[in-house]
Symmetry: D2
């Protein structure tokens, strides 16, 4: 059984609501990525470091989201990130937006490790370790 604290939370701002007064659907993917950045920082592997130190990019190959409830202006939304799969040169993340027992939205992303030449590379051991250990350090 896992008890997770939220990795990231955001308030729905005026600039990201649409004429219906709710979060524009595409913004959810921005917040998923920000939750992923916060998740990585908590593991000690911030994206700035990934890019500069390891000369590595972690582009997203696939992304999907389901929207269950509108997210309204001024609403605060917590996001929980969990590792869904850890492969040789790829990993997958799950995101829950709002109350985990009754989420407002869910998302899923697939990331691939790529060197500067644009070819897939093995995930650095330190990164693998950080991703795998997150369950124990919420």
């Amino acid at each position: 059984m896992n008890h997770h604290s939220a990795h990231y939370s955001f308030r729905v701002h005026f600039d990201e609501t649409d004429p219906g007064g709710v979060l524009f659907f595409g913004r959810l993917f921005f917040h998923a990525h920000r939750a992923y950045e916060a998740f990585m920082r908590r593991q000690g592997v911030g994206l700035a470091r990934v890019m500069e130190e390891w000369k590595l990019a972690l582009p997203i190959r696939k992304a999907e989201a389901e929207f269950f409830k509108p997210l309204r202006l001024d609403q605060e939304v917590a996001v929980i990130v969990t590792l869904a799969r850890l492969g040789h040169s790829a990993f997958e993340l799950d995101y829950i937006f709002g109350d985990p027992d009754d989420p407002a939205a869910r998302a899923h992303t697939v990331h691939v490790a790529m060197g500067n030449d644009g070819r897939p590379v093995a995930l650095p051991e330190q990164l693998r370790h950080a991703l795998a250990s997150h369950e124990k350090s919420p």
Copy 2:
């Protein structure tokens, strides 16, 4: 056999490229929505009219995308939209980004018709007709 002209095209602008110099993945969903808006306009049912005249919202329930190639700064990208499914109160759209024979990305969205009270409603006949007839009027 269908020959489609693009419904929408965009140039990758500075503001939507990330530190890697390529389109931030989340922006693809914005461009998918803009292609959907253009697709609707071509059918004569622009979103402004949907909201004002029919008092209808068409929120996205599900969205997904696959990314095959990076989209670089200044690059021009054409988007083709096709109707994937037409239901009673829902419809689904497919999006191809770039060369249809070797696409840079693909996306898929599921839309549900909702009245002002937030409950699903049947798609207006005129909207159904417009969506269904698009194959013949590229």
Copy 3:
């Protein structure tokens, strides 16, 4: 002498950095608006309430910003908002980004109160009071 606590702070996220790895200049205006929203919430007059209860819009007539230092990926930036002018149907706000003694950026916005018919109206007394009293309740 005024000692202000920050009204809003943000981290520079991947999605808002440009190919140079720094905050895209236009995003500063988004963060200024978010700081303004937080400033209003602290005065008890959140924007959702302004729009719904008072049937009022507060569109921006003028906006300007100066950029002194780049804001880099992962950097945290605090924003302080102060009332610069309070008129009959308009008010102006100043924004300081980062260390007030050595700011990374400054911004200024001019807001006008408008009714649903698009014509200027007097600022509601409660809103005037909230704006004017902010100095005492940092």
Copy 4:
């Protein structure tokens, strides 16, 4: 007397309208930058080239805008860019949005040439020439 054709035009999309159904003010600065990119491309000095070939950044030091009329969903807006000032290591641009005789908005930006070490440098002669000659090649 100058007769300018528009350098860039955009349609106001759903994702950039606010709960009032009009363009979020901060987005105007994005469109100003896109018009500036188009202006540069027309002079033969696209931003990708500026960054890669000349190892030069042209960060914005100051930006301002005035908003005269709301820009509504689906509306098409043309933008005209003119050189306002050309200095040793800086230049300034003016932007008109919509009908030049009755504009919906105006903007102004100040750009400074910076080398990779973050210090101001002289504008390359080719860039100066391109900026200065634009009057003759609308």
